[in-house]
């Protein structure tokens, strides 16, 4: 009988999954499907599902379930499957450390400070939001400045408003979603201010959350000063030039009692760091193989703790793979080492996984640095494919089949996304 709060922890699990969000749930499922016997998910909240639980808007699952679900509904479907697969889920618990022999140090109010051994570990801690401090906005430090995700929790989980008159810095997806939510809840959203010349979130969110609600989006504009002693009273905003320097002569003040910050997510990798896992300086998440294994034997990673995804569907897919590989590892089936290293080239910011093989099919995820349309995606000299457009706010996914790489016998493979004319030249 599966337990959503196991009374007794086993001394050893084949796979311990750190985090019970979409990545952790899919990884646990993957592990069980690949033969792992005991699988334990450890989650710090009192309910699994991670950030999905506060994402009450719809738009989840279009790829995976071929229908549009809310965040909690998406989580519920996975949770149901996970429980059917006999996975132990320990909530209100925290993984304090993992040592090189994969002994996992746990803290929970139910089981106290304890340890379990793991055949394999999957890191699925998700991401945290970048804060105001990450970009050092001058001015005072009053109440009322918060990340969009925190505001989402206040509104959707607790039933409070973060304020009545809201400015939003950054056009990340959570900020866009919250702009709409706050208007629906009766607050006024005075504008979204984005430093870059393009929106950071998905185009569909810009349209459905801002345009449809008449919320102004100010591109190439940023907050240059915060005013207010106890609670924020206004912000000064200014357009920026090509080198992102604010043009103070064109600055203006915007009255608000709240500033939401939606300037991106960063992989939550404290645990990966303490484990000494090799990290990618660009994504700041672990370097991973095609099996989503990190540089530490038997330690796998997936979801936003590796790189930031736009869609939960891709998180699930990647994590099921990671969990499967972890299950295989724990039960003694090691995958053959990868023989291709993917190197981000022209207009490619990051490329996950970092290595693949020429023998199996892989999905690779790219982030570009600038918008291009139309353009061509190239894998070294071996393969190319036309793309209608690329934008930094949307991840590019590419299924790489073995036949694409015929005649390539391993080594470095540069990944470029170039303008169509250039490609033709």
């Amino acid at each position: 009988m599966p337990e959503l709060q196991p009374r007794h922890l086993q001394r050893r699990y084949d796979v311990v999954v750190v985090g019970g969000g979409p990545a952790g749930l899919a990884a646990a499922l993957g592990a069980r499907e690949q033969g792992a016997e005991g699988v334990l998910i450890v989650d710090r909240e009192s309910e699994p599902g991670g950030i999905l639980q506060q994402c009450i808007h719809h738009g989840f699952g279009l790829h995976h379930f071929k229908e549009e679900l809310t965040g909690p509904a998406y989580a519920e479907r996975y949770l149901g499957q996970v429980l059917e697969h006999d996975v132990d889920i320990l909530t209100d618990a925290y993984v304090l450390d993992v040592d090189p022999s994969r002994r996992v140090g746990l803290l929970s109010s139910r089981h106290g400070r304890t340890e379990v051994d793991a055949g394999a570990v999957v890191l699925a801690m998700g991401a945290r939001e970048r804060t105001r401090q990450a970009i050092r906005i001058p001015g005072t430090r009053p109440a009322g400045i918060m990340t969009a995700g925190f505001a989402q929790k206040l509104v959707n989980m607790a039933g409070y408003l973060p304020g009545r008159r809201v400015a939003i810095l950054g056009s990340g997806d959570i900020g866009l979603i919250m702009a709409r939510r706050l208007v629906l809840e009766g607050a006024e959203v005075v504008g979204v201010f984005e430093l870059m010349p393009h929106a950071n979130g998905l185009t569909r969110n810009v349209v459905q959350c801002l345009h449809d609600f008449g919320i102004p989006l100010h591109l190439s504009t940023t907050v240059v000063h915060i005013h207010g002693d106890e609670r924020i009273e206004k912000v000064t905003v200014a357009p920026v030039d090509e080198s992102f320097t604010p043009r103070m002569d064109q600055a203006w003040d915007v009255d608000c009692d709240t500033l939401l910050v939606s300037i991106g997510l960063i992989p939550d990798n404290e645990l990966a760091r303490t484990l000494g896992v090799r990290l990618d300086p660009v994504t700041t998440g672990p370097v991973v193989t095609s099996s989503m294994e990190t540089s530490r034997d038997g330690v796998f990673a997936c979801g936003n703790t590796v790189h930031i995804h736009d869609l939960v569907d891709w998180v699930s897919q990647e994590s099921q793979l990671a969990g499967g590989a972890a299950g295989g590892y724990a039960t003694g089936r090691h995958r053959r080492a990868d023989n291709v290293r993917l190197l981000p080239g022209s207009n490619v910011r990051s490329c996950i996984p970092h290595t693949i093989t020429t023998e199996r099919e892989h999905t690779i995820f790219l982030r570009v640095t600038k918008s291009l349309a139309p353009c061509t995606l190239r894998l070294g000299e071996v393969y190319e494919r036309p793309l209608r457009y690329v934008v930094p706010g949307e991840m590019v996914t590419l299924k790489v089949r073995p036949r694409f790489l015929q005649g390539f016998h391993g080594g470095n493979l540069r990944v470029d996304v170039v303008a169509r004319e250039e490609a033709a030249a």
Binding site: L107, G112, R113, R128, P142, A143, F150, Y160, L161
Partner: protein
């Protein structure tokens, strides 16, 4: 109620004086306008206990710096707050700087400061390999230390309250009248009678003196911006590093805080009394100054910034004296090294009151210590297991960046935290990389539940610093 002594202002100076006075059989009140003690200048400074050799001879600063420094050992023994003598280095880039170092060395030796030593570049390289290679030599002061100044304020106030202090938070003094037998101190929430009044009101020191017609110190204000760096740089520099000073400031320093994280700053720019803004220019000046000392420091590593305001007397010195109004004592203009000097200032003020006719009789019931808070993250695993068995609230993480448990947050509330900042500065919850993104909601709920208030009444720092507001009432047709 009638008090022997009323202290206005619960910064480090007011708290130190209050605790010193509770050693005696006296009725003492400490009045603070903020909702927590120590959240003004005391919170927003560099947290350095200066070695004792720095402030000039012949000044009140010079007279209290080293005495104060020596008293911190006893305070840290009695009270639980972070304090460690990590030493400091004043570094020289050229001949002028080296002359300054030898003057500092002479001054320190005259004063009896122990352990001062000039280090050549080779020694410096060995001890602090990440310092700039342009540095020729340095003066090492092992007596110097770092303290968490807000923790020291909390601990001093808690100890004083335990020994009978009346602590009035969120009380603003609006008038002080000298009558036949003493003072009437009027606040926005009622009046107190007092034989003696001590003005430790920090940046408001002149304004408080004015209320009763006592001498003012001609206070001007100088803002200091400080920038905290990511844990990545823990251990990068292990001693406080000073450049040679300018006439108005000690310059931009690199400070390994008590918690190990590096802090860089402060600036020193003229400002208003309540100007705690950080600025782009300030950040630039701080990082340029810091990189001159430690080239490996970058703006990218900044995780938080803050600013504090120094109250600077016209003659730049501390103004600690009786005034023309008998029984009204000024303790104002306390800028650097005020934190260092605070315990010595407290002793001096007690002597001042004695000479003014306050009879001081030691109270045998005085208890110097208070219970140390449990710092869960610093315990060994076996010890952690024991703590959670005793109280399952320690089995729930509130702040994941700093590993602070709900048990610690609840203890902080039991010991007087009333706001999110009060929790943050007592437990470190919210001080880490995510800056409260994860723990803020948990802490808000714990505050609301424990104090039996609504979430919308939880504040960051009292007053109008609310965090959440009720949903709008929608009228349905």
């Amino acid at each position: 109620m009638r008090f022997d002594v009323v202290i206005v202002g619960a910064g480090i100076v007011g708290c130190a004086i209050a605790r010193e006075l509770t050693r005696y059989r006296l009725d003492v009140a400490l009045i603070e306008r903020e909702c927590e003690v120590g959240l003004g200048t005391s919170k927003a400074n560099s947290g350095i206990i200066h070695g004792g050799h720095r402030a000039a001879d012949g000044t009140a600063k010079g007279a209290t710096e080293y005495r104060g420094n020596l008293l911190w050992d006893e305070l840290a023994h009695d009270l639980p707050f972070g304090f460690q003598r990590i030493g400091d280095l004043t570094v020289a880039f050229d001949d002028d700087d080296e002359r300054h170092l030898s003057e500092l060395l002479d001054q320190g030796r005259r004063r009896g400061v122990t352990g001062l030593e000039l280090w050549d570049s080779e020694r410096l390289r060995r001890e602090e390999p990440n310092l700039s290679h342009d540095i020729r030599s340095a003066l090492h002061a092992p007596t110097s230390g770092v303290v968490n100044p807000y923790e020291a304020c909390f601990a001093l106030a808690e100890s004083a309250v335990r020994n009978g202090l009346t602590l009035l938070l969120e009380h603003t003094v609006v008038g002080i009248e000298r009558g036949e037998s003493g003072f009437t101190v009027r606040t926005d929430r009622g009046s107190l009678e007092a034989r003696f009044v001590i003005n430790a009101a920090g940046v408001h020191g002149d304004a408080v003196a004015r209320l009763v017609g006592a001498e003012e110190a001609g206070l001007r204000f100088r803002k200091g911006e400080e920038y905290l760096l990511d844990k990545r740089l823990v251990g990068f520099v292990t001693r406080v590093v000073f450049p040679c000073p300018s006439p108005t400031s000690k310059g931009i320093l690199v400070i390994p805080t008590y918690d190990g994280t590096l802090m860089v700053g402060p600036t020193a720019t003229p400002s208003d009394a309540d100007d705690v803004t950080t600025t782009a220019q300030g950040a630039q000046a701080v990082f340029e100054g810091a990189r001159r000392l430690v080239p490996g420091i970058s703006e990218e590593d900044c995780i938080a910034e803050f600013a504090g305001v120094r109250a600077v007397a016209a003659d730049e010195d501390f103004a600690i004296h009786s005034t023309a109004v008998p029984g009204f004592v000024n303790v104002i203009g306390i800028q650097s090294p005020g934190l260092t000097a605070a315990p010595a200032i407290a002793l001096d003020v007690v002597e001042l009151l004695r000479s003014e006719g306050l009879s001081l009789e030691l109270d045998d019931a005085f208890i110097p210590g208070i219970d140390a808070p449990i710092l869960f993250a610093q315990l060994e695993p076996e010890e952690q297991a024991r703590v959670v068995r005793g109280d399952p609230r320690f089995g729930r993480i509130a702040c994941r960046c700093e590993i602070v448990t709900e048990g610690e947050v609840l203890h902080a509330i039991e010991r007087g935290a009333r706001t999110m900042d009060g929790i943050k500065f007592r437990t470190r919850a919210g001080m880490g990389r995510c800056q409260g993104g994860f723990c803020a909601w948990r802490c808000m709920r714990l505050l609301a539940d424990t104090l039996d208030i609504d979430i919308s009444e939880v504040t960051k720092r009292g007053g109008r610093s609310w965090i959440a507001t009720p949903r709008l009432e929608v009228e349905h047709a």
